[in-house]
Subunit: 597 residues, 2 copies
């Protein structure tokens, strides 16, 4: 299918709309202010001098670029002179400080001009890619092409350094991003050169001269041979997204098969139930199959976003609900957990368990193992995630619909309107508060409605067949109603997952649930869910999802350290909240996976 | 009670006898050979020169001293000219190289004579303590007092440096050991000065000038206020042993109460089921209450030994079987696991779980978390544990009996004979292969037989009352028979122990059991023991303990990463071996705590 871009879709109400509004009203400003305070904005002036504070960091350009991209999506929807001025001021600085040959990187121009394109790990091409994405977004949102032209000049410079004259001291990006950005540049301008440059970077990968920890940057094999997900998760999924883009644009079946293999590898062996990926902060990598430790989960917000980008591309190849299901899983759980309910603070890592004892075990912090922070913060030194949320939330419309000829696909459920060509669709629902959805269409010959993978019981108001996870309705009446029954489910994981040994998680509709000590007891791991699952859900607007009370048992406290095994349990009402809402009510133990008895 | 020293006890057969024979025949020689090869023996020549290999390490003297102590215990039992020559050669070197003022430390004499007693962390007093223990043992075993005299001279030197002239640059030992050694010196020589010096070191503790990580070396408080076990486990338990010694010798009730509090703290909150202690290799410390992680257990062999020393002292205060129970737990599990079945190789750390995936998770070793080695080795750079096993195994007789007036206490079960004064006791049993024990006594008015804490059913052939865990038989007939029924038990841990959440371990008599992949399946954590416990034990001479087959279930393998919870189990015969015998049949996953259903 062709997924409908955000420009064609207006969100009206519901969870995704609320998060988009939070971003427009709070998060986009919160992130700008923090970037302003930390010197990320002024870095574009390229006037930092040795000895001054706030030395421009190698990846700061990318932070601001993602923020611009997010702000641009907002500008498409509504005039906002304040946002527009902020963006224009940054573009002014880029224009003023861009090198004659098109090069732009605030860190290298300011701190080490002689070192440009000499260190593969310095994120130059990554920053360049994000600037290009921002330029395309700003151009598409406002029609203003100044930024895009500057970036076209930068592409020329990069092409020269890496392809024509080969003056760069490395051959492929240390952190992928530019590949998918070049595909966007190609789509925005129609210039095939950009697509070819994207292909060049992808094809060269695996043929680089020796570089350390090859697997971490997915440089260990030619991309067509990379059927297993390895290394840094964000780099990986940005690359897989670019591979899928390239496969689509060039009709490269082999590359598509690789994408499919790696997608399956991630989603059947290496993904948290929240859609988070990455089991260790050590290099922020995928590890081995089924290694999904909870309290040390890395599960970076950006990695969840990157996986969603990848799934979104795969959906264009295959009209299979599995991809839209994953996007839903990420949107409602592993991505949005990165943002506090008030829209102001962020997680980089999104663990599936907080055990405060982990932070107290050791005699002194320097001897401690490293665990994720337990409360979201307004900014962190590596602040890639906050502006990534800005741009994704501002462009949520991208994920709702797809089409092919006169067929419309409903991929996500959200009060919304969309149109493409002469086709129109209006979706009325307060999903996920209820599973009832009314779809009104015009000029649509086939309507395909995703049946969520979590839904075991549903009704459709018209005759339908099920194909690849979609309810397919031919020649739909003007108004179609579907009703997905939302009930809590007890979910187990593959027995190979060590960390979830004998445990289960509760899900409710699109939400994964979590228990927090603040609603229960400190010792969450002593709670066991009744295997004859009994659960009572209620929607909580403040927490943006379902609270679920589950019949459970508690091992009776004991004095003895070791004693003969006994079945001494007492009943306990386990109170769960949406996973993404954890850590919004103070520091607390938290747990997704509970024992079952 | 007064515990009967090894000189009064002869082991005849059974588990402890077998391990003692293994030590005499294999381990004592294996350790000497490794110490010879690594330069630890030649270091006593004090002729190492810069640029040469095998530079004497600050703690090498203690390694060799513990070996001498073990060899001395063997010499008491039988002539062994080879062992005796080896010891005499080392004493020759000590005599030759000892400084005029009595100082001896092969590292400092050779490498940095000007730095003696300047660095609290350099184990000088620790080495001195072990040399003193060796000297006392050699004197008591052979009657030869040359070594003892040399060490008396060394005590003079230490007393001068730390008490009289205060030339030392620190006040208390960084690694405790000398305190309990000085008590032994006092007991061997009757010189009260030595006891006073032990008291001095204990009393000064907590009043030192600022030193980093105070808790790690138990220097954060005066010893009488240290009611919680903290810091480095071996240092802690050597210190608690010395405190108990001092409390006994000086009838210091307050100090005894402190010992009792800290003993309870360890055994009710901070001890593995194997008797191992220390939950992290980070500084090798106790951590917080109930923090008993299995795969990263530190549980150093020396720490288990040190805890046994402490329990052994506590038994002298209180005729309570709880202490002898703990000694049994350590002897059969957390200590002896440090020695391979062939007596030649060793563990420093004794984890309660091996998950080989832990070693494969990361892209490169330098980014890996540190886990214990999975196979015993013949020597390691910090080789404190091997000679500690030498000296404990050679003096196992220390732990079997106690007496008070005409009362005999049977603390451990082992084919053996003992006498003290005109009292005699002969214990006939093949314990732990069977629980049947026949005790013949002469001139004993009261016979107290420990009822093991694991025993739920037993018979005694004479009338008895139970007191503090002992079956007390007044005026015993010539021959008393007890029969402790040895059956497998399913044991759970306190629900506060995170790592054992919903799990149970199997014990059989004095043995804790473990499962190894080699007898079962790789994925041990997918096995769940039937809560209606059914188990079949059989004694295995080669593994020195019981094999136990347990009715269990296995979660059926699955393709899905996440799926609706199901009770899809298949029956599985879980095969267990004695914990201490793990890692003797190749590298394998291993697990003590299993899920229960």
């Amino acid at each position: 299918m062709i997924t409908l871009p955000y420009q064609n879709v207006v969100l009206k109400n519901g969870f995704l709309y609320d998060k988009q509004m939070l971003n427009e009203n709070v998060t986009i400003h919160a992130v700008y202010n923090r970037f302003y305070d930390t010197g990320r904005v002024s870095a574009f002036r390229c006037d930092w001098k040795e000895g001054q504070p706030k030395k421009p960091h190698v990846f700061w350009d990318s932070d601001v670029a993602k923020w611009i991209e997010g702000a641009a999506y907002i500008l498409h929807k509504k005039k906002d002179p304040d946002l527009e001025v902020k963006i224009e001021e940054i573009i002014d600085e880029i224009e003023k400080n861009q090198c004659a040959d098109g090069y732009f990187n605030s860190h290298f121009i300011t701190c080490a001009p002689e070192k440009r394109f000499t260190n593969r790990d310095c994120h130059e091409l990554y920053c360049a890619g994000h600037l290009m994405e921002a330029a395309v977004a700003y151009y598409e949102a406002t029609g203003k092409d100044r930024f895009l032209k500057l970036m076209e000049k930068y592409v020329d410079c990069i092409e020269k350094a890496f392809v024509t004259e080969k003056t760069a001291k490395f051959e492929t990006p240390g952190h992928q991003e530019i590949e998918l950005a070049l595909v966007r540049m190609y789509r925005a301008t129609g210039k095939l050169r950009y697509l070819k440059l994207a292909k060049f970077f992808l094809d060269r990968r695996g043929f680089d001269p020796d570089i350390p920890i090859l697997k971490n940057t997915q440089s260990h094999l030619p991309v067509r041979e990379q059927k297993e997900a390895v290394g840094h998760c964000v780099r990986a999924c940005y690359m897989y997204s670019a591979m899928a883009d390239l496969a689509l644009e060039t009709n490269d079946r082999a590359l598509y098969e690789t994408c499919k293999a790696v997608f399956n590898d991630i989603t059947t062996k290496k993904m948290y139930i929240t859609g988070g990926i990455g089991s260790t902060r050590m290099l922020e990598t995928f590890t081995i199959d089924y290694d999904l430790i909870n309290d040390k989960a890395y599960a970076e917000t950006c990695a969840a976003i990157a996986l969603m980008f990848f799934a979104h591309r795969m959906l264009r190849f295959e009209n299979d609900a599995v991809y839209a299901d994953l996007i839903e899983r990420i949107l409602y759980n592993g991505m949005i957990s990165g943002l506090s309910l008030d829209g102001k603070s962020f997680f980089y890592e999104n663990p599936l368990e907080i055990n405060l004892n982990n932070y107290k075990r050791f005699l002194s912090p320097e001897h401690s193992e490293r665990f994720a922070i337990t409360q979201r913060v307004e900014v962190f030194s590596c602040s890639c995630c906050p502006p990534n949320l800005n741009r994704v939330l501002a462009s949520l419309g991208n994920y709702i619909y797809g089409y092919e000829g006169n067929t419309i696909y409903v991929n996500q459920f959200a009060g919304s309107e969309a149109s493409v060509g002469n086709m129109k669709i209006v979706q009325k629902t307060d999903f996920p508060k209820s599973g009832k959805i009314t779809l009104s269409t015009e000029n649509v010959s086939t309507l395909c409605i995703r049946i969520p993978s979590w839904c075991e019981e549903y009704t459709v108001s018209a005759p339908y067949t099920v194909r690849n996870g979609y309810a397919v309705i031919e020649k739909p009446e003007k108004e179609i109603t579907v009703d997905f029954k939302i009930v809590p489910l007890l979910i187990e994981s593959n027995p190979e997952i060590y960390a979830n040994n004998g445990k289960a998680a509760v899900c409710c509709g699109p939400f994964v649930c979590a228990g927090e000590a603040v609603d229960n007891i400190e010792n969450l791991h002593s709670l066991f869910i009744d295997k004859n699952f009994e659960a009572y859900p209620s929607y909580d607007d403040a927490l943006c999802g379902y609270r679920v009370t589950v019949r459970a048992y508690r091992k009776k406290p004991s004095q003895a350290l070791y004693a003969k095994y006994s079945e001494a349990w007492e009943a306990f009402d386990l109170k769960l909240i949406p996973y993404a809402a954890f850590a919004n009510r103070g520091e607390s133990n938290m747990c997704v996976w509970f024992g079952v008895r």
